[in-house]
C-alpha cells in the first residue's frame, strides 16, 4: 500500500543513502521516486512538475524544520556544481552522537579543522605531514599510523578532501554542515565571496593591496564572462588570470608550515588576525583584517594564553620581520616549539 506521500519518504531515504549529491542527481531521483510509487499504485495521482524543484525542496524543508534538519545546498568550490545534502542544524548533545568516531578521533578532526582554518596565505589547507603531526597536540593515544587511517576515513566519509599533492582541505559537505560552527569559531578567518556571500576557501582575490575582493572559482568565471575589472576596486585585470591572487591550495607557499598556528584564547581586547603579519611578510598581501598596525602592539601584550576571552592567533614562526621581543608560545604545545628569545 502506498500513498502519494511515499514519494517524499522514499526521496529522503534515497538522499540519506548518498550523504551528498548534485542537484541533477537529486532532481532525477525525485522523478524516479514518483515513477516508483506510481508503479506500485497506478491509480494514485501524484503532482510532479520538473520545473517545480524549488517548491519541492521547500516542502521537504517545511517537514524537516521542526527536527532542526535541512535539505540544504551549496556550490562545490572545485566543480561549481550545486550540491545538496541533509544537514543537522542544531549542535545539541543529541547530534554529538551522530558520529562513528571516538572522542579522540573527533578531537583530532577538530584539530585538523583548526589548522586548515588558520593556514597562512588564505590557503585553507594543511599538508599530510602537518596533519599527522597534529596527533601530538591532541590528547589521545592515537599513533601516527592510526592517524593515517583516521585521516583516510575522514576523506572516505566526505569530511575532508585530499588533493593530488597530499594536502587536506574542507569538503563541500563540511562547509555545508559546519558553516555555522566555522563562522562562530573562526570569525576572523572565514572569508565570504563578494558576489554570492557564501563562505569561500578556494578561489581568487584581487591583487590591489587594499582590495577585499574574494571570489569562488565559479563566481569568478561567471563574472569574467561579462567584465574584466574588479567588482570592488574597479581595477582593470586584463586578460591575464595569473596576476590575480589565489585563495586555497594554490596560495600555499613552501615553508608556510614551519611554525604551527594556534588559536590561543586570550584575555585581550580584540582578536585580530595576526596571521596577517605573516602574509605581509611573504607576499605583501593585503590582510583581511583592517587594523594591521595594531597587531604588532598586541603582540607585546600577549600573554601565555590560558585565559578566557576572545580568540587570538599566536604566531610561533621564525620570521625576521617580527621585531617584538619574543613570540607568544602557543598555549598547548610546549613540546616541539623552538624557543625564541
Amino acid at each position: 500500500m502506498v500513498s502519494s506521500n511515499d514519494v517524499q519518504k522514499l526521496f529522503l531515504q534515497a538522499v540519506a543513502s548518498r550523504r551528498i549529491l548534485s542537484k541533477q542527481v537529486a532532481a532525477k531521483i525525485w522523478y524516479k521516486c514518483v515513477e516508483a510509487v506510481q508503479a506500485v499504485d497506478e491509480t494514485l495521482e501524484i503532482e510532479y512538475r520538473e520545473n517545480k524543484w524549488d517548491e519541492w525542496v521547500n516542502r521537504l524543508n517545511a517537514a524537516l524544520e521542526p527536527l532542526a534538519i535541512e535539505f540544504a545546498h551549496v556550490f562545490d568550490e572545485a566543480t561549481g556544481k550545486d550540491m545538496y545534502a541533509l544537514v543537522n542544524r542544531k549542535s545539541d548533545e543529541i547530534a554529538q552522537l551522530a558520529s562513528d568516531y571516538t572522542a579522540g578521533e573527533i578531537m583530532y578532526f577538530r584539530a585538523i579543522l583548526e589548522q586548515i582554518m588558520l593556514a597562512p596565505n588564505e590557503s585553507y589547507c594543511v599538508s599530510s605531514l602537518a596533519a599527522l603531526r597534529e596527533v601530538n597536540h591532541v590528547q589521545t593515544t592515537m599513533t601516527k599510523s592510526q592517524a593515517q587511517h583516521v585521516l583516510g576515513s575522514f576523506v572516505a566519509r566526505g569530511w575532508l578532501l585530499k588533493s593530488p599533492k597530499g594536502r587536506y582541505s574542507l569538503s563541500t559537505r563540511t562547509i555545508l554542515e559546519l558553516q555555522p560552527y566555522l563562522r562562530s569559531t573562526y570569525p576572523d578567518e572565514v572569508l565570504e565571496c563578494t558576489i554570492c556571500f557564501e563562505m569561500v576557501t578556494s578561489g581568487y582575490a584581487c591583487f590591489t593591496p587594499a582590495c577585499k575582493l574574494r571570489l569562488h572559482n565559479h563566481c569568478y568565471k561567471n563574472h569574467r564572462r561579462m567584465r574584466s575589472d574588479c567588482p570592488t576596486c574597479k581595477v582593470e585585470w586584463g586578460e591575464d588570470d595569473s596576476k590575480l591572487l589565489r585563495v586555497g591550495e594554490q596560495a600555499f607557499k613552501d615553508g608556510q608550515e614551519k611554525g604551527r598556528r594556534v588559536r590561543s584564547v586570550e584575555a585581550d581586547e580584540d582578536g585580530d588576525g595576526e596571521e596577517d603579519e605573516e602574509q605581509s611578510q611573504s607576499q605583501s598581501r593585503e590582510p583581511s583584517e583592517p587594523s594591521q598596525s595594531q597587531t604588532k602592539v598586541k603582540k607585546e601584550k600577549t600573554t601565555k594564553g590560558k585565559g578566557k576571552g576572545k580568540k587570538k592567533v599566536a604566531e610561533s614562526d621564525e620570521d625576521e620581520e617580527m621585531e617584538e621581543d619574543g613570540e607568544t608560545p602557543p598555549p598547548r604545545t610546549q613540546g616541539k616549539r623552538k624557543a625564541r628569545s
Binding site: K9, A14, C33, A63, P66, L67, I94, A98, G152, S153
Partner: protein
Amino acid sequence: MNVDGEGDLERKANDLVRLALFTENKHMPLRRDEISKKVMGSKSRRFGEVLARAQQILSNTFGMQLVELQTRPAEEEKDKKEDKAQEKNKDKNAPGIKKKAPTGTKSYILRSVLDPQLIKLATVPDDDLLRLEKGEFDADPELNAEDEYPVPEPTGAIIAWERGDQLQSIGLLYVVLSFILVHGRSISDNDLRTLLRRLRLTANTQVPRDARASLQHYTLDQFLSTAIRQGYLDRQRIGEAKGAQKKRGRASATQGGNNDDAVILEWRWGPRAMAEVGEQDIARFVADFMVERTRGDVDSEDDEGGNAHEDPETKKMRDGMLKGIGKAAGGNLAELL
C-alpha cells in the same frame, strides 16, 4: 497550561526523532534509558505519548518506525505441536504462554516501513539514473585516481545501497545468520568455526573494511564481538549447572568428551537480526544462492521480480529449497519481529 503541555510534547517528540536518527547512524540500538536521559528529562511519565508522536513523525516524514527489539527465551527441547501453535499466535501479549513469549528489551532500532514492493523497486538499478551517476563518477578525477579510498561504483538504484557502511561485514553477517538458521536456529561455536574455516576465516583473519572505517585492523573475532554488541548475534553458554537450560541433543553431538558436563558456547540470532533481517529473507537468500549454484546461472540476472520471470522448473526448485530450509531451521520461519 494545556497548550504548553502540547508544545512540550511536540518538542520532546522531535528530539526523540533526532535521537533515533543519529543513534541509527552509529549502528547501535537506542536504549530506553538513553531516551529518558536525553529526551524525557524529568517527565518520564509521558514516554508513551512522546513515543507515539515520534512514531507518527518518523512514519510521515521518512517512512520509518522505531521497533522495540524482542528477546526470545532459549529454545529448549521442543514440543513441535506447541511450537507450531506458538508461531501462529504472533501476539506476544497472549497470556499463559510463558516460556516462548518474546519480551521487550527496551532497546529500539529504526526500520523502514515503506511498502515492500516500493522497496524492491527502489533497490533495482535504473538505466537513466545509472547513466547520470556513472557520468559524474567517471568525471571526478579524485574518485577514480585514488585507489586508497575506493568509492563504490554507482548502481543506479534509487536507494544507493552500494554505499552502505561496511557492506563486507553485512555480507559476512548474513552468511553467519544463514549457517545458524539452517543448523536449527542455533549452532555450537565449534561447528560455526568449522564452517567458517572452510571459507578461510579463522579467529584472527582480517575482515576487510572499507576506507570509511577509522579502525582498519579487524579480525573475525572482533567482527563477531561487534555483531553481538550490536544485537545481531547472540552467544550463550549452554549446559552450566546453575543455568536452567537443558542441553540440546543436536548441539552436543559434535562435542568431544563427556556430553553431560560439557559447557558449550552456542550461537543464535540476536534480537536485532530478528527485527531487521528476518528469518524469511535469510531463507530466501539461501534459496537464491543454492538455486543459482545448482542451475549454473541458467536463470541468472535476478532482476526486479526475479522470481516472477523464472521458468517453472527453477521455481519448483526454489520452493523446494525454501521448504527444506524451513524444515532444517525447525519449522515456521518468522517474519520480521
